[in-house]
């Protein structure tokens, strides 16, 4: 239970920081390379989605047969 509470604290804090960074971005950034970068907290979503993507692909690859017992080559 304690761990769960800690976890929620960490997550809330992270989301708060992302929010603050987004506001700071609107105030400070004058020049965008890509149009999509103007989307609020675009990079946070990018990080979130690509992490899940990497986890998903690695799990699929493991399920597909790349994961073997440790003495496979012996």
């Amino acid at each position: 239970m304690l761990i769960e509470k800690k976890l929620y604290k960490i997550l809330t804090l992270s989301i708060l920081v992302i929010f603050l960074l987004t506001i700071a971005g609107y105030l400070l950034i004058k020049h965008y390379h890509l149009y999509i970068e103007k989307f609020p907290a675009f990079y946070a979503f990018f990080g979130l989605i690509s992490t899940f993507l990497i986890i998903a692909i690695s799990n699929i690859l493991k399920k597909a047969g790349l994961k073997k017992k440790k003495d496979y080559y012996d």
Binding site: L7, I10, L11, S14, I15, V17, I18, L21, T22, A24, G25, L28, I29, H31, Y32, H33, L34, E37, A41, F42, Y43, A44, F45, F46, G47, L48, I49, S50, T51, F52, L53, I54, I55, I57, S58, N59, L61, K62, G65, L66, K67, K68, K69, K70, Y72, Y73
Partner: protein, 590 residues
Amino acid sequence: MTNFFQPFLIFFIFAFLCLIGTKKLCKFITLSAPILSAISVNFIKKPVEFVLMNHKIILFQIDKINFPFFYAFLIISFLGILYNIHRDDKKEIIFPMLYAGSAMGVLFTGDFLSLFFFWELMAIFSTVTVWLGGNEKSKNAGLRYLLIHLAGGFLFLVGIVLLNQEMGDLQFTTMNKNSYSSWLILTAVLINAAVPPFSAWLSDAYPESSIGGTVFLSAFTTKTAVYLLCKFFAGWEVLIYLGAFMAVYGVIYAFMVLNIRRLLSYHIISQVGFMVTGVGIGTALALNGTISHAFTHIIYKGLLMMSAGVIFYATQKERLNELGGLFGELKIVFIFYMIGALSISGFPLLSGFVSKSITITASLENHNLFAWIMLNIASVGTLISVSLKLPYLAFFGEMKVQNDLIKVPQNMKLAMFLSSVICVVIGIFPKLLYSILPFDMAYTPYTAEHVIFVLQMFLGAFIAFVVYSKHLDAKYYYIVLDTDWFYRKGLNFAISLFNEVHDEIISIINKIFYERMYNGLCWFIKNPLSALKIILEFFLVLFGTSSKEKELKRIISKYPQDTVKHWPIGTTILYSSLLLMIFLIIYYMF
């Protein structure tokens, strides 16, 4: 005379001194080799060259590209030797020094023949460095490593021979996209740069070396390949796609594996992917990005390998399922490790940020959206496995290591401290690094958008990781297959398949020649006349010209009948007299 003392020769001489000297002398002098090399280079005023068999051999020439690499090599040699110096085994110093020396030889050569010479030397000494692991596993991994590198070296040699035919000499030239020789040389260099599918040698062999050996291995082979790519293949578009692919390939594999040094080895592949992409883009900004990234990568990867080595040294374990809760015991190592980990992830104020962002910006300025997306995904992947997964499983959670930890020697800590200092200093004062880069560029890493975007991306990834962290697959140890399967298992599989086919063919031959034909002949000679009749009838029936099927079956069932023909005695006498008469006629006529 000053021309004589080239960097590679200084390393070779010190390795030799180490070999003949005592252990104490070895420990005393080796650290001065990188320092002396750094000094001696300043005294070599002109290229060192001579003529050998009508070929102009250039052993030493300085250009804009090789000097940043040289600095990084010197620093990592110094730190690596410092990290290793407590070892009583002289091998641990001699072979890495020879390896470092031959890598420097590759950097400074000015013609293909001497380049090939140092290239092969590097392959040999790096193999011996893999063998420093000293067990059966490292021996086998080293042999596989040698196999791949000799194959690469062979391609390189064929490429050089073809180039010699095309150009008439072996001087460095710009590579022509339409000639076979450049593609052969490119393939050889890509094998050394660990571009998939030729990347498995790296993740296979590096973790099997000794902990000090891995620090050296992580620095030289792939970076000399990146140097050659920068020199000859800048702007080759195929490299953008290969590099972007390998950057993501490395992080996906890194997220799967549990051996800490193997995890970090996969991140070498991923980080070299950034560099290869930069070379493929080929603009001044991208090449600067590649070279600065190679520089910072050598230092922070050395630091990470040192930290992983210290974890292994202290606990005698390096599988994430067996580690945990080390934070209390190895606080100082944790701090050094995290500096390296956040550097490789590209966290602001650390060295990776100021170099990685150049390549990513270059891909954006070049309007290559594919490379931009892949490199950003690779950045996120680096963060989650090096900065989150590894420390989460090794340093936090419950303590799984039962035995007492071995005390870490001071020299190891000092080497890690110095590496961390370099990472932080470059991160805070990027101008120091940018001043040695070959091309002029107007680039400032610390702009509001860079910092905010990177922090946002990392926080997003952090949230995703925290949500997933309970499901991390680290309960028991497993391995993940890579392309080395093809020469570790696949070849056996192919051989067994071949054996099966071969056995099948032999059994068919046996059946035909030794069973069917033998039985048939036996059957035939029982009564040849009748057998011929049966065969004739059989064919007649087969082709439909006769309808005596029942008759045929009857004869076959009765075969071989009575083999003795019952002749009357008179007939025999008639035939004998006829025969004699024919003889008589022949005798009198001729």
